[in-house]
Subunit: 186 residues, 2 copies
């Protein structure tokens, strides 16, 4: 059901077509919160329309349909937000890979962790650039859609980066204390 509420949330921010929603998904939710492909989005929008939680408010060129959230939709979304489950499902392939890195030889694991740290730094730079490019009036209001997502990245990405760097340092320490012997090959 999460996809359903993700779409209601995007539409609560502002109306949009399936195509547009797919792009807004990518720009905001996709990296941290939820992933969905375009065809799944179209199908869910049709179901939402059947259930009268959204409605078509305009039709444009190329069969474009603009959806808006209805009052019933807003009610349903708010109710969902008010009743969080004890434990929400998490699936993150990126972190799964990180957690399984221990399987690799220390040197290779170290290299991967180093790359992850760099990757997190790049995304942080990118995010900072995005925020800097925003007009000032979009930066201010704390409860506009993208805002929470963007600021979350500002706290999350340094944490991932520093964790990876810390793990690299840990591997180095462990190797130093462990092999007094140098590389057997010349």
């Amino acid at each position: 059901m999460s996809l359903r509420y993700a779409l209601l949330g995007l539409l609560a921010d502002e109306p949009g077509s399936g195509y547009e929603l797919a792009r807004r998904f990518e720009d905001t939710l996709d990296r941290y919160a939820w992933h969905a492909k375009h065809n799944q989005i179209y199908q869910e929008l049709n179901r939402l329309a059947e259930d009268r939680l959204v409605e078509v408010v305009a039709e444009g060129a190329r069969g474009r349909k603009t959806y808006a959230i209805t009052e019933a939709g807003r009610t349903s979304l708010v109710e969902w937000l008010r009743n969080p489950p004890d434990s929400g499902v998490v699936r993150n392939e990126f972190l799964l890979r990180l957690f399984l890195t221990f399987v690799l030889e220390p040197a290779e694991a170290r290299q991967q962790l180093q790359q992850y740290a760099e990757h997190a730094q790049k995304r942080l730079d990118h995010l900072n650039a995005l925020i800097a490019a925003l007009p000032p009036e979009d930066v201010a209001p704390p409860l506009k859609f993208g805002h929470l997502a963007a600021t979350f990245g500002l706290w999350q990405l340094p944490a991932v980066r520093d964790w990876a760097l810390h793990s690299v340092a840990e591997i180095d320490q462990w190797q130093q204390s462990h092999d007094g012997a140098s590389d057997p090959r010349p």
Copy 2:
């Protein structure tokens, strides 16, 4: 396919039965990286055994089967680790809720963010207690399985907490500057 590699990863750490693996899943991967229910684990183990990536190394009471990773399994896992996709899928219902919190009235949003901060703090305390209770030899080696998961929490949880607290402060600031008027009700 991620579940498949998650199981191979757990078995690369040490052999175990389906039941045991389900519990190890919960203790390590479940919170941050991957979620799976016991019946899905059993099914995937059977498929892995068919494909000779794991094998039954012991059978115990109550039909208990202990699985171990095979050489082919280890090769397959390492290959997967070496070839990360450009973008891994992320699904996190908790964060989705956070991102949609802007739909609520500022006062209610504030309250929820406050709760998230407290929740993160509680989990951090719990994690610190767990680590403190470990025998020293389990804390040291940087590449044992649970280690990456545990240290990740040590970086991740404060980030979530501080972000939530920062958002609370932002809402307070915004409200102060916005309504010079006090609550209409007495």
